[in-house]
């Protein structure tokens, strides 16, 4: 034993030296691509929904400067938050210096610092669906409105001050409201009526943002869902149809004269860069095979022109089991598509360049659903 002592001391000493050597902090996560010098956007966050009841909403982060992808940043940065990010994360938005994650199953909106993903507040908004932002205010649509005497339920929109993070005014809209758009001092809300498939809602609610009351309803089509705006002011709204004899569709709405034009395409997921919308449409085949087809197309927002040639390369399309969401880098035009696979195993993020060719891919959490860039 005695003879081993010097060796033992030496080991301790060298260990001590290693421990004392100052090293730059290792970037967290895994390297997935080459670092980018002076990136225009620092990175992006990806919110994984997780199946309902699993309490598995997971926030991932990719950092351009290091090329590292990190799974589950929220629980790492906020270990003190009881039960983590929560159940079913359905929407992710960056507005100003803050990031908002709709945690639908947990009946809250988690507000984080966009740079660090540290917890700032939990807004108690039950069954929130979607968000829109304007003039320092956030607007959240929710299914959890008043019950009507006929058994149907109305939705509402909640206004939140993005500085004080206090819940503000609330307005009742149509049934099961989904996405929203702010235009000319008005809030347009797509109502789905998804709780009553035999009697879908078919209107857009128009809310005056000064008085915060619903001014009028524009009838468009049943089961409205997605909503976005063209730079020239054209309002687009998608209908999911009734999954039977009424097909899904996309409508261009003139908000002045309330005229509606059907474009004959469905929208499952979309992303917008400048005046182009990148759209994924999942088309469901007839019985008994129920063959599902995925259509990738682009829409010129100002001209309403549709280009059916895919924005993804065949190589990428082949690898995707179930395309679930899409995002486009606001400057470079890189295309990000997520694959939810079978929804109960982790999904995949496909990072493609502007030509739709795969740059890298990375395993995410269960059901990767929303992506938000952080400058």
């Amino acid at each position: 034993m005695k003879r081993r002592k010097p060796f033992f001391l030496l080991t301790c000493l060298s260990l001590l030296m290693i421990a004392c050597t100052p090293e730059p902090p290792m970037p967290e996560g895994v390297p997935v691509t080459d670092p980018v010098q002076n990136p225009t956007y620092s990175g992006f966050y990806l919110l994984n929904e997780g199946t309902m009841g699993a309490n598995k909403a997971i926030l991932d982060y990719f950092d351009y400067a290091t090329g590292y992808y990190q799974n589950d940043v929220f629980s790492k940065r906020n270990p003190q938050v009881v039960d983590g990010l929560g159940d079913v994360g359905t929407g992710l938005y960056v507005y100003g210096s803050k990031m908002y994650a709709i945690i639908n199953g947990s009946n809250l909106v988690e507000v984080m610092d966009a740079k660090t993903a540290t917890h700032l507040a939990s807004l108690q908004i039950p069954n929130a669906r979607s968000a829109a932002f304007a003039n320092g205010k956030a607007y959240f649509s929710s299914y959890a409105g008043q019950m009507q005497t006929d058994g149907t339920q109305l939705g509402f929109v909640m206004e939140v001050d993005t500085v004080s993070l206090m819940l503000g005014r609330q307005v009742t809209v149509g049934r099961q409201p989904e996405e929203m758009v702010v235009k000319d001092g008005k809030l347009f809300v797509a109502n789905s009526g998804g709780y009553t498939p035999e009697n879908y809602d078919n209107t857009i609610s128009v809310v005056n943002m000064d008085s915060f009351v619903e001014e009028e309803k524009i009838p468009v089509a049943i089961n409205l869902y997605r909503m976005f705006l063209a730079p020239n002011g054209t309002l687009y709204v998608s209908s999911r149809g009734n999954y039977a004899d009424v097909a899904s569709n996309l409508y261009a709405v003139n908000t002045m004269d309330k005229t509606v034009k059907a474009l004959g395409k469905g929208v499952t997921a979309y992303a917008i860069k400048d005046d182009v919308a990148y759209i994924i449409d999942i088309v469901y085949g007839p019985a008994p095979l129920y063959q599902t087809e995925y259509h990738y197309y682009t829409l010129q927002l100002n001209t309403q022109q549709i280009d059916n040639s895919s924005f993804l390369s065949d190589d990428v399309k082949k690898q995707i089991v179930y395309p679930y969401s899409i995002a486009v880098h606001p400057i470079t035009g890189d295309i990000l598509v997520t694959d939810a696979a079978n929804f109960v195993t982790p999904g995949t993020l496909f990072y493609c360049n502007v030509q739709g060719q795969l740059q890298w891919k990375q395993t995410t959490g269960d059901i990767p659903g929303s992506i938000a860039f952080w400058q």
Binding site: V82, A287, P288, Y324
Partner: protein, 654 residues
Amino acid sequence: MYADMVVVSSFDTTKIYELEEIEFAQPRRKASVAPLQTMDNKTLTLLNTQSVADAIRFFSGVQLKDYGGVGGIKTINIRSMGTQQMGVFYDGIQLGNAQNGQIDLGRFSIDNLEEIKLYNGQKTDILQSAKDYGAAGTIYLTTKVPQFTQGKTRFTATMKAGSFGLANPSLLWQQKWSENISTSVSAEYTYATGRYHFQHKKIAPNGALLYDTTMVRENADINAVRTEAAVFGKLYKGQWKAQVYNYYSQRGLPGYVARNVYEHHQRQWDDNFFVQASFQKQVLSFYELLAKAKYAYDYTRYLNPDTTTQYIDQSYRQQEVYASLANAFTLYRWWKVALSADFQWNYLQADVKNFVFPMRYTGLLSLATDFNWQYVKVNASVLGTFVSETLQKGVASPNRNVFTPAVLLSVRPILTELFDIRAFYKRVFRMPTFNDLYYTFICNSSLQPEFVDQVDIGITYRFQWAGKVLESMGIQADAYYNYVTNKIVSVPAANPFRWQMMNIGKVRVIGTDVSFDMGFRWREDWTMGIKGTYTFTRAQDITYPNSPYYGGQIPYTPWHSFSALFQLGYKGWHLHYSCIYTGKRYEQSANIPINYVEPFSTHDLSLGKEWTGKRCHFYVSVDVNNLANLQYEVVRGYPMPGINGKMTFKVTIE
């Protein structure tokens, strides 16, 4: 005794239980060629579990999904083949649920049960209905048969009370009307608030406490009433039985726990009613007959009053008519053949918009043969199942005609030793349930049946030493391979909010079930029993060949699990200790850290005393469950109770 591994029969403790019972249905010690595990009345009394599901945990090869609490759902899965591949028989007739194919064994009290049997493969009584051949694994619940030591009337009153606000009185009246006719009437009421504390705690890698909150499980209350009556008749070379059963319950559904979701408000009302009868007679020296009939009515109302999510108030009514005729012919002393024909009708009604009101006609025909030589027993059968469906609107599932075979073999190499080697092959299928076919938003009436192929090889060995301290010892071990194809799984359709059922699942299972028991007796008054089981399961999800998670262990299936029972008896005192260990599991077939579910073990202790007065017999016990006060989950998001207790007082007057 041949091959009938009554693993717990050595728990022979009380004078009162040693009394001979009237044999009903099958002679009890008939040989089983298939792997069989039994839990008899003595063990059930000492285990004193709240439900059948809690008792079945002590069998090997069983996975229990327990959502916690007195009213929580408890479903059993045998050898990882899926809950719906399992058949549960109540006094010889299968309990049906055409709607979702699941039997919640948490609803069956052990109060009026004589024994529980679990067969892998199938029961091999030659005189049995076609339905007995129709499941991959079967559980037989047998109710108590009237027994009398003196007089003609016997009353038993039991009161249990304990944690979760449990109050559980029951009454049993057994009456002998003549040598050939006796009756049994029983009633049981179960009330519990279902409230218990659970803890969410997180500790940082450096040991610092990040949070530690204790919450109360809410909306887990239950009110349930079970009433049952039966008439038992004896005939010359035969017997008959008629019974009526009703179970009414209303309960809260405590639901999952997630961030900011610590309370649910959903409620459920159930009424399960059935009336059934069976008749068995040796008509001729070579011909035996067994006839059965049943009518069942099941009502379920589900209410979600919470307008945060979707308000739902739906009622379902299921009806079933069943009739069976089984015929067994003894051609030689060693050769029997049997032919059975069953008919079943199911109808489901609901007050749901656009409901299709499915009606199903099922015909079952089984042909079986049994060779019983000195060294070898062979049981071979083929089951034909013919299903036809009609709907009020829409396209019904096409007619299905399916034939499934089974061969079971048992060899006893040395006649003087109770040592048997056995093997079986069985192919079996299950029809898609009404929910599978017609409940999802996108009806998929073209769904195919789900198939299982099972191969099993095993041994049983039983030693008996009369008069020795170690009276008996038994071991049985099986290795098996199961292959599930066309497994019905739900997958997202065009819209991720709308899921549909597809026949795409494939599961491959390799496993081992081992169980052993020892019975000791010394100085007349002392008895000791030890029983243990061990289960190894490798159940791989091989549905998606291109998935990186291909071959992962299927959800909630531990690789290793074991159970142990220890029982000591002395002059009417009983000390009973049991332990369950469930190894690591994953909640999804992606076996990654985030889906990891911690192993757990629970320890239960019970002390009881019984004594006999002039015309009375008393039994008092105190049970403490989860002694270590472990915070654990069987299913992620459904916290289980910590340490809890129960007192039982039982009196029998004769």
